[in-house]
């Protein structure tokens, strides 16, 4: 069996004990503030004073830094390079490379937008490291999210690794039969169908069976379902959520006010 796709790390910490919705709001608040705040250094500061300390507080710092270095830094770094070279803003040229100028302004611009992306992804990573997907979904369902959405998210996380494994099997099988996946452009374009076809047809064949199976378990029933697992929602959770909401409103208001 393949594991489900999940970043969750089981630890006991103050962050793990927070209500899942609080962590979602925390993530969205960090992202919104990073993107709307009119002050240049906000995204940089958010990483230093919010996201990194929080990852220590949640006792997921090793995993957080591992993901940051492997996944987030390359993406942010590439964006930084692209923008530093290609943004045609600014006068004070630092150096020239053929027709491309790197100016002080384009460097500053690139630094901010890559930091924004960094905040966005690292906030999500932090949430996923400390929140179990099933817990988040059952809490949101309790608050009124239709059960169907919860089903879509949870079963995507389950199906995706299976599908990727199936794709690997198909690629190997077709290669061993002599399918060309590496030579000329036309040969590679021609091998799309023999690779995609089996994967898609195979997985669509399961749909009806799955539909009958979940229908038999009361999937479309309108009755309120009880949960075996109670999820705590303390008063401090509520206070944190309100404070975060107010901070976001202030940030957006400042942006509108100053522009």
């Amino acid at each position: 069996m393949h594991e489900r796709l999940s970043f969750y790390v089981q630890r006991s910490s103050a962050i793990h004990d927070l209500n899942p919705l609080t962590k979602v709001i925390l993530t969205l608040a960090l992202i919104l503030i990073a993107f709307t705040s009119p002050w240049y250094w906000t995204p940089h500061l958010l990483v230093l004073i919010a996201i990194i300390p929080l990852s220590f507080l949640g006792r997921v710092a090793p995993e957080f830094f591992k993901t940051a270095i492997r996944l987030i830094l390359p993406a942010a770094g590439f964006l930084f390079l692209m923008q530093a070279f290609f943004q045609p803003v600014g006068e004070s040229v630092i150096f020239k490379f053929y027709f491309l100028d790197v100016t002080q302004e384009s460097l500053m611009f690139a630094f901010r937008s890559s930091m924004r992306v960094f905040v966005m992804v690292s906030a999500f990573t932090f949430m996923l490291l400390t929140t179990h997907p099933s817990e988040l979904m059952s809490d949101l369902t309790r608050r009124g999210l239709p059960g169907q959405f919860a089903y879509v998210i949870i079963s995507t996380l389950q199906i995706l690794p299976q599908m990727q494994a199936k794709a690997q099997t198909i690629i190997s099988a077709q290669r061993s039969r002599g399918l060309d996946t590496e030579s000329s452009f036309l040969k590679r374009a021609g091998s799309v169908v023999p690779l995609v076809g089996p994967l898609v047809f195979g997985s669509l064949a399961e749909v009806e069976e799955r539909a009958i199976a979940i229908e038999a378990r009361g999937f479309t029933s309108k009755k309120i379902k009880t949960s075996l697992h109670e999820i705590a929602d303390s008063n401090s959770d509520k206070i944190i959520r309100w404070v975060l909401t107010i901070l976001v409103i202030i940030s957006i208001a400042l942006k509108i006010w100053l522009s």
């Binding site: 924004r116 992804v121 999500f124």
Partner: protein, 229 residues
């Protein structure tokens, strides 16, 4: 309105959506491996849009972008509105009967590509100042250096790169739906949208060629205007 959204969703739709998201991501990765100049990462979205309706397609698009962003490439995250409208537009076109023969599917692909180009432009401009982490930004950068405005540079880039990808996606989705047995398709809310019209006659073929030529001329004209202005 709410009723119209609801009739996109039956149990089969809900089961198909996660599978379609996984198809989007898995096929996108296969194509990446083949090093082709297209993405083909919305085949699942188009499948859902045609079989179940525009809202189901939109939901599939947005969710697969978000999951792709979280699990594989963080740079994909801000682009979920583009995927949302790809699904929505594909579903609308199918609803208007534009998914019943191969030339209509080409038109659908073209319209979806235009939608994607229009929706992605403000995201590229506001969030990234026009230069994103995607390879096609080299074109944008070149156009910017030649003295073009940021909006026209970004729009021209999308008009150059999107149609090939989206038309191929729509054609593949069409081929897949035609390849599925009738009884597998029957359970979806909008199954009749995917039924092929009688045999394609010669006249339709001529119309098809005419439409394609017109669209290409239109695109060329638009581009020249944008590049000139």
């Amino acid at each position: 309105m709410l009723e119209k959204i609801k009739n996109n969703f039956n149990t089969q739709t809900w089961v198909l959506i996660p599978i379609a998201i996984a198809i989007n991501i898995a096929v996108g990765q296969i194509v990446l491996l083949l090093k082709l100049p297209v993405f083909l990462d919305s085949i699942g979205t188009v499948l859902v849009a045609v079989l179940c309706g525009p809202w189901a397609g939109a939901l599939t698009g947005a969710l697969s972008n978000i999951i792709w962003g979280i699990a594989i490439d963080p740079g994909a995250l801000p682009w979920w509105p583009v995927a949302f409208f790809i699904g929505y537009m594909a579903g609308r076109m199918a609803g208007w009967g534009f998914f019943k023969s191969w030339w209509k599917v080409v038109v659908t692909g073209f319209v979806v590509a235009l939608t994607a180009a229009i929706v992605s432009t403000p995201i590229a401009v506001y969030l990234f100042g026009g230069i994103t982490a995607s390879g096609s930004s080299f074109i944008t950068a070149y156009l910017l250096q030649t003295g073009q405005g940021i909006w026209s540079a970004v729009v021209s880039t999308s008009f150059l790169t999107e149609p090939v990808d989206k038309i191929t996606t729509a054609m593949l989705a069409f081929a897949i739906i035609q390849g599925l047995p009738k009884r597998t398709i029957g359970g979806y809310p909008k199954a009749e949208q995917a039924a092929v019209e009688g045999e394609a006659n010669k006249n339709q073929l001529y119309i098809a060629v005419g439409v394609v030529v017109l669209l290409v001329l239109f695109a060329a004209f638009m581009l020249r205007n944008i590049l000139g202005g």
